[in-house]
Subunit: 213 residues, 2 copies
DNA sequence: CCGAATATGGACGATTTCGTCCATAACGGA
DNA sequence: TCCGTTATGGACGAAATCGTCCATATTCGG
C-alpha cells in the first residue's frame, strides 16, 4: 500500500532481488524525469543503476513494463503527497494556496515538468499500454481535489453553485498546463500565474461570511 | 508571412520542389500529430507523402530540421487562427467564450491534444534544438490574449486589478493542461471543465456595469 | 534547343536499441 | 551441508532508424 510500485513484483524475489529491482526503478524514474522516456535506454540505465543488461530484462522483461513500473512509482508518490496531512484533505482555501505555493515558493525544480504529466504526454501517443493505468491515477488525483471542494461546499465555505468536479479539473489543468509552459519557456512564471489564477478563482467562489480580508 | 513554414526554404527550389517540400511537411505534421514525433520515421513518412528516402534528406537534411519545419507550420496555423477576425482581438468575454466553445462544441477532435503543445511536450526534453522557436511561439500566442485583456481593462470591461499577463497564462495553461488530461482519459470533460472555468474566472472579473446577466 | 541546376529513386552502411543466451555466483530451504 | 532457485555478468543477434551515395530523370535559364 505504501510502496505500491514494489508490491507489483512477483513474490519470488529475494531481499537482494527486491533491492536491485527498486534501485533500477529509482534510477529509471529519475532518468525518465530528467531525460525523457525515449532517451532513457538500456545503456544509460545500466550505468546509472549499476546493473548489467540481463538484470534489466530479468526485472523488467521489456521497456513497457519498465515504464509501467515508473508510472506506478510516480503515481504513488504524487497521491501520497496530496493525501498528506499537510493539505488536510483540501477543504480550505489555505490548503489550495499552500499547494500552489509548494510548487512556486519551495524552490522545487520546475524545468522537467510534472513527474507524471511529462511522462504521460510523452507516451500517450505511443503503443505502450499504460493508458488505463494513467487514466486511473489522474482520476484519483482529481478526486482528491473534488472531495475537498465538495466538503467546502457542504460546509458553506464556497458557493453552492460551485461545481467541485469542474474546479478539480481546472486545478489539475492549471498545474499540468503551467508546468508544460514553464518547461518550454524555461521560466516558472506561466506555472505561477496559472496556479495562482486557479486559486484566485476558488477564492472568488468563497461565500461572504468567510471573506475575512 | 502567411505561409511562414514555406518561406523558410532556400530560394533555389523550383515549383515542383516547393510542392514536394510542402507535401512532405503536410504529411509530417499530420503523422506527428496523430502518431507522435518518435513514431514518425522515414518509412512511415515516405509511404504517406509518396516520396523516396533521398527526398526527405534533400528537403530536410536531418530529423531536427523536419521537426522544426512542422513546429513552424503548426505555429503559423495556430497564430493565424487566434488572430482571425472571428475573435476580434479577444477584447470581449464573448470572444473568449467563443474560443472555448470552438474546442468543445465544434466537434473538433481532441484525442491528439493541442497540435503544438503535444509536439512540444514530446521534444522539450530531447536534444532537438527547437526550444527557442517553441518559446517564441508560445509567447506570441499568450500575447494575443494579453493584449486583448489589456484593452478590456482599459475599456473598463474587466476590473482594473486584473492582471492581463497572468490571465493570459491561465488561459494558455487551461487549454494545454486540459488537452493533456483529455488525451489521457480519452474524454473531453477535463478540457471542457478547465476552459469553461478559465472563462468563468474572466467573467468574475467583469465590472458590474457590463454584467448584463 | 542545350547545358547546368535541381529533383527523384533505391540501395547501402553506420549506429543505436532492444532483448536473448549461456555461464557463473550467491542465496535459501530442507 | 547440499541442491534447487534466484541473481549477476557480458557477449551476442535481430531489428529499426537515420543519413549517404550515386545514377537517372526532370526542369530552368539563356
Amino acid at each position: 500500500m505504501e510502496i505500491n510500485a514494489q508490491s507489483e513484483a512477483p513474490q519470488k524475489l529475494t531481499r537482494r532481488g527486491r533491492s536491485t529491482r527498486t534501485r533500477i526503478l529509482r534510477h529509471a524514474a529519475d532518468l525518465i524525469y530528467t531525460e525523457g522516456v525515449h532517451a532513457t535506454n538500456n545503456k544509460l540505465l545500466r550505468s546509472a543503476a549499476g546493473v548489467s543488461g540481463s538484470q534489466l530484462t530479468h526485472y523488467f522483461p521489456n521497456k513497457e513494463s519498465l515504464v509501467l513500473g515508473v508510472v506506478e512509482w510516480q503515481a504513488s508518490s504524487i497521491l501520497e503527497f496530496h493525501r498528506s496531512e499537510r493539505f488536510a484533505g483540501f477543504d480550505t482555501i489555505d490548503a489550495f494556496q499552500d499547494w500552489a505555493d509548494f510548487y512556486i515558493l519551495s524552490g522545487r525544480p520546475f524545468k522537467d515538468g510534472c513527474s507524471l504529466g511529462a511522462l504521460a504526454s510523452e507516451i500517450v501517443k505511443t503503443d505502450l499500454d499504460v493508458r488505463d493505468e494513467l487514466s486511473q491515477v489522474f482520476k484519483e488525483w482529481a478526486d482528491i481535489f473534488r472531495e475537498g471542494l465538495e466538503r467546502m461546499r457542504c460546509l458553506g465555505r464556497i458557493d453552492a453553485s460551485a461545481d467541485p468536479a469542474r474546479l478539480a479539473h481546472m486545478l489539475m489543468a492549471a498545474y499540468q498546463g503551467g508546468s508544460l509552459l514553464a518547461q518550454i519557456e524555461d521560466d516558472i512564471t506561466p506555472l505561477r500565474d496559472s496556479l495562482y489564477a486557479a486559486v484566485d478563482h476558488l477564492r472568488s467562489l468563497t461565500t461572504r461570511r468567510d471573506d475575512t480580508n
